[in-house]
């Protein structure tokens, strides 16, 4: 298969199409608009459905409708647009139909800016919509990984009849890198038994709904979703490790922050500092158990994010106070540089670790000199 030089957004769009995407519904927002534009050309060309919706609310509900037919469907947006989609996401989860969502994050809150950030971690990983639910969240750190995880997102969404999210920041969406694209899969012609496609002379009627007025029924539904989530946790946790064999310190970062941190870890290694990198690929389910194990043998952690420490809380939960956790974040669309992270690693390696206080407070104090 040919390697192609594509922007992250375009590569994700093409990967989804090749994964058998039957319908795309979206609304323009920087920095993900190339994804919608790519779909507007390619989908009609292939005789598949494309609608530029009037809003993110409409887009996600078009996805919801199409998902009820069992077809492969997706939408994409960026932070403020994702906030609007939360209603539909909660309904899709509640109805147990599969869909894929791409969130190319920018700086916030509010209108914020269009620069790369990881500000939606909490909204996506810990659920922004109403109700008790989990999303499958995949975080690529390169265009190739974005392609591979997009294809995986469809498979996981279908396997667990849920929403799978590809979560990346604006820099990955805009970045051009060579990537190998998957082979073209045709769209489905046979729809699942549970779908609302019209009975077509084959079966009794199907009702797809998320309303259970009787509290014990709603409880059962919630329990069913939770049990399925346990399966996801047992089978689908993914992460990448670098220089971990003899590491005494661990940097934890996802997506672009993880990628920048890898350069810092390499530089630290060149100085003889025994540091490794853990890059979670699935932010949800989160590799809690793995981090807990690591905590038994390393001296401390440094969490690096392009936000104010959202994944930090999950790492702290995993570490459970066994070892010190430090934090370094840049916000509002500012990308961290490798040498900033290297300086943090050096500080930690020269005895800067403590179990006292909250890592975010200590970081805020250290940030006082900056900017």
């Amino acid at each position: 298969m040919a390697r192609e030089l594509l922007k992250g957004n375009e590569a994700i769009a093409e990967a989804a199409i090749r994964a058998g995407l039957q319908a795309y519904f979206g609304y323009p927002i920087t920095p993900q608009t190339e994804l919608l534009e790519w779909m507007s050309k390619r989908m009609p060309e292939l005789g598949r459905a494309f609608v530029q919706a009037e809003s993110e609310l409409a887009a996600i509900n078009m996805v919801y409708g199409a998902a009820c037919t069992g077809a492969r469907v997706m939408t994409s947006s960026s932070s403020p647009g994702i906030s609007l989609m939360m209603e539909g996401i909660s309904y899709i989860i509640g109805t147990e139909v599969p869909a894929v969502l791409v969130d190319v994050m920018r700086g916030g809150p509010g209108l914020g800016n269009i620069a790369p950030a990881q500000s939606d971690y909490n909204q996506i990983v810990h659920g922004g919509g109403h109700g008790d639910y989990h999303l499958i969240v995949l975080a690529p750190a390169s265009v190739q990984e974005a392609v591979d995880l997009t294809v995986l997102a469809f498979d996981l969404a279908e396997k667990y009849r849920t929403v799978a999210v590809v979560l990346l920041d604006g820099s990955l969406g805009q970045m051009m890198e060579p990537a190998e694209l998957p082979p073209m899969r045709p769209v489905k012609t046979v729809y699942p038994e549970w779908a609302a496609t019209g009975m077509m002379g084959k079966r009794e009627k199907n009702i797809l709904t998320s309303i259970y007025l009787n509290p014990p029924d709603e409880e059962q539904t919630n329990l069913r979703l939770l049990r399925r989530w346990q399966e996801v946790e047992a089978n689908e946790i993914r992460f990448k490790e670098y220089f971990m064999d003899d590491a005494r310190y661990v940097v934890v970062g996802f997506g672009s922050a993880g990628r920048v941190a890898l350069s810092a870890v390499r530089a630290a290694r060149a100085e003889g500092i025994p540091v490794g990198l853990l890059r979670p690929i699935t932010l949800s389910p989160f590799p809690y158990a793995h981090i807990r194990k690591l905590a038994e043998r390393v001296e401390g952690f440094l969490v690096v994010e392009m936000n104010a420490g959202q994944m930090l809380e999950d790492v702290r939960l995993a570490v459970s106070g066994q070892k010190p956790v430090e934090f370094y974040g840049r916000l509002g669309g500012v990308m961290p540089f490798p040498d900033e992270i290297l300086a943090e690693i050096q500080r930690i390696a020269s005895g800067g670790l403590t179990l006292e206080g909250h890592p975010r407070e200590r970081w805020l104090q250290r940030m006082n000199g900056k900017n």
Binding site: E54, S55, A58, M62, T95, T209
Partner: protein, 260 residues
Amino acid sequence: MVMEQILPEEIVYQRPEALADVNTHYCPGCTHGVAHRLIAEVIDEMGIRDRMVGVASVGCSVFAYNYFDFDWVQAPHGRAPAMATGIKRVLPDRFVVTYQGDGDMASIGMAEVVHAAARGENITVFFINNANYGMTGGQMAPTTLPGQRTTSSPSGRDVETAGYPIRAAELLATLEGASYVVRRSLHDPKNIRLAKKAIRTALEVQAQGLGFSMVEFLSTCPTNWGMTPVDALHWLEEHMIEYYPLGDFKVAPTVAQIRI
């Protein structure tokens, strides 16, 4: 006791196949039930039950999917036209209909229905206008008449502060993508017959791929209006039709040729 046997050829009136054999939760005398029956009869007559996908909305008709005997999905409040768009785009040869109240369609879901109509989405919207929010206990809707008392306009809708009621059919009829937009009433047999004919035309529009169709039904809510079912029918006739005139607001030339 001698039981009289009814021969099949003697049956002149029975439950349409498209209507499930279950009791509904609608209040006695509520015309939601009339609208259901008419839609089901037309689906039977057209023989399209197997190809139907309904989109239920939020409101008293939230359980419409239990009462019709074909595939249904349940939309978030107001978003039914967007869900219907998603379904229709994936399955263009199915009949996709939404069934929405006035709070659902003309308030929270106004954008979704306007844009589905503007796109000429080949779906049919059944719009039940009962001048209030039924399910949540009779609050003011965008369709509540000036001066009409509701639980959230206790001294009557004051247009100075609450604005004017929205005439959805007239509004949607201005859109190029809308092919068939009419208003009918469910208050007496003659109007019920006309309503049924409009349902038929709307579904024919969809069958022929002619674009967006919408039938608005003036409907009663005896419970929240605080009236007997009969008084409610009279109130509809006397007050609602004045503000919401019955008629055809958009019949595209392609639609005018449909003969049923």
